[in-house]
Amino acid sequence: MEKWFFGEFGGRFVPETLVHPLEELEEAYEYYRNDPEFQEELKLYLTTYAGRPTPLTYAARLSRELGGARIYLKREDLNHTGSHKLNNTLGQVLLAKKMGKKRVIAETGAGQHGVATATACALLGLECQVYMGAVDVERQKLNVFRMQVLGAQVIPVYSGSQTLKDAINEALRDWVRNVDTTHYVIGSVVGPHPYPTMVRDFQSVIGREAKEQFLEREGRLPDYVIACVGGGSNAIGIFSAFLPYGDVRLVGVEAGGLGLETGKHAASIGRGRKGVLHGSMSLLLQDEFGQIQETHSIAAGLDYPGVGPEHAFLAKTGRAQYVTATDEEAQEAFCLLARTEGIIPALESAHALAYAVKIAPSLPREATVLVCLSGRGDKDVEVVMRSLAKEA
């Protein structure tokens, strides 16, 4: 049972009906993880289909404008479908196919993971259904349509708060009913073992590439690696390659929403307490009785009351540091990057950027900061437009 945990976090807290299917998944994953043929096939899709490796971009004008450390961007926004999510869905859907599953289900908040799952299913010829909170269906209509165009069925979830956490609940309920035919593609490093480990492994390609590219460019490792954290899959993906190097400071940026003092945020590490949700022990935003609280972030992809157990562990041990950026700071970073570099980042990624913007001016010119630009911001322009109009 020890390998299910990262220190005191992780585990497998699920209804008994899912225990055996998770054992089967773990076994299959262990097998294919070490199968050169599977890895070769996945690599082929990642290169010839997803467009990997994604570039490392030196943000020259942004760095100059801030007047301190040199900022580099790992360009996951240039991955097919516009975010890092496809790294994981290609891996999991390929695994599902090898396991003989005919049907794939997924949850989605903003729709990025749903689109990435629908894409991988279209590519590999599997049936796909995506659970999405009814509130999110309403505010992310374009992504709902994208999934439908890709041949997936989007199922609105009307229970609970009708957002991401409820979509995960409903996907778990579906999986309980259909375990024989169905694989559940979880979109982040959350959920019961083996998900946090498996999703990390599929996302670790970000870190492997970034480390190699950075070494080639700078001849040394970065001083800071910064990534946004909702569930935390892009962050774990990029952190994984730098974990052994104690000199590299790892920083996860959670959604500060309207400010931690307002209670309207999604800072599960910053303000959460230990507890169990969606199959694992982690840090959660919950009331004193263990009921899960509603969260707020301008970035739908960070709007989640829990966090991957490995992040809770890295926070506890101090190997990584976790901070927050508010909605406003993220929006400013969003506009700043667009203006100085010609890159419109996802609002999620803009949180990571906001922290880089905050620290860069006080760092020396020799210092380097690597930011994981986890996705592109086309999906967010409407949100930012409305928000800026409100301020004006």
């Binding site: 009906t17 309920r173 309980v176 507890g275 169990v276």
Partner: protein
């Protein structure tokens, strides 16, 4: 032998264990419903302590759970209310792990035992996860779920360490929305019988007395939740819904007595 099991065995009949969500439709009606269950022949009552994220539950128990939470139901309120209710049948708390962890495992077990609870079912804590609930030992019987998807070797292990009874999930699904998988169920009952003397009660998706009687032919009784709660949801605006509920409980009791 643990006291819950002893109490159930003393009944010497097929067991009927209804499930009610605490505080649904409201606290005072809930207390009346408990009394009705006792009077109409329930052998124990499972009391659902609501959670905001009930992943093992179908639409009916989700509805009753959210309604109860909206009215401000909390574990301390359950203890406070139940302290004033005295019943001749044991109560079993059914909830999710995080509710127990946040209350404090030892404190939960002591407080709930004090007000009439004898068993604990945690829907999202399989056998291995009970390592986190050790402090409840000796206070509340550890009732484990086995499922039609559990391999027989695992079913055996579960039955060996489950206290009170083995809660056998009757098919693949969530509460109220499960189609009973008779062949897988029978195979698991046979396995439990072969290796242990544990009581076996199927639950999930049992929705009428006839079906209950059929299942009771080769088990020790049944657990019925969603079917009862759905009746309440549909009828609670009528003047005679409590009588109707009593008649429904009675019909399960009779069907089970007929199966004995």
């Amino acid at each position: 032998m643990d006291p819950l099991r002893e109490a159930l065995e003393k009944k010497k009949r097929k067991l009927f264990v209804p499930y009610l969500t605490f505080g649904y439709p409201d606290v005072s009606s809930f207390c009346t419903l408990l009394r009705i269950c006792e009077e109409e022949g329930a052998d124990a009552v499972e009391v659902g302590i609501p959670h905001s994220d009930p992943v093992a539950d179908g639409p009916v128990i989700q509805t009753t759970s959210f309604a109860a939470l909206k009215q401000g139901v909390t574990p301390p309120l359950v203890v406070e209310v139940m302290a004033g209710v005295s019943l001749s049948i044991p109560l079993i708390a059914m909830t999710y792990g995080n509710i127990v962890l946040q209350y404090g495992v030892g404190r939960f077990a002591r407080d709930f035992r004090e007000v009439g609870f004898r068993g604990l079912i945690v829907a999202d804590f399989p056998l291995e996860a009970w390592d986190f609930l050790k402090e409840a030992q000796g206070l509340l019987s550890r009732i484990l779920l086995a499922s039609v998807t559990s391999p027989l070797e695992r079913v055996r292990r579960i039955a060996e360490v489950s206290e009170g009874f083995v809660y056998l999930v009757s098919g693949k699904g969530v509460t109220g929305k499960t189609e009973v998988d008779f062949s897988a169920l029978k195979e698991r009952v046979a396995c439990i019988r072969r290796h242990t003397s544990a009581l076996v009660l199927p639950g999930f998706g049992i929705h009428n007395p006839r079906q209950a009687a059929t299942l009771a032919e080769y088990t020790d009784g049944v657990i019925v939740g969603s079917a009862l709660l759905e009746y309440i949801i549909r009828n609670r605006d009528t003047a005679t819904w409590m009588e109707g509920f009593a008649a429904l409980v009675r019909s399960y009791r009779r069907a089970l007595d007929g199966a004995a």
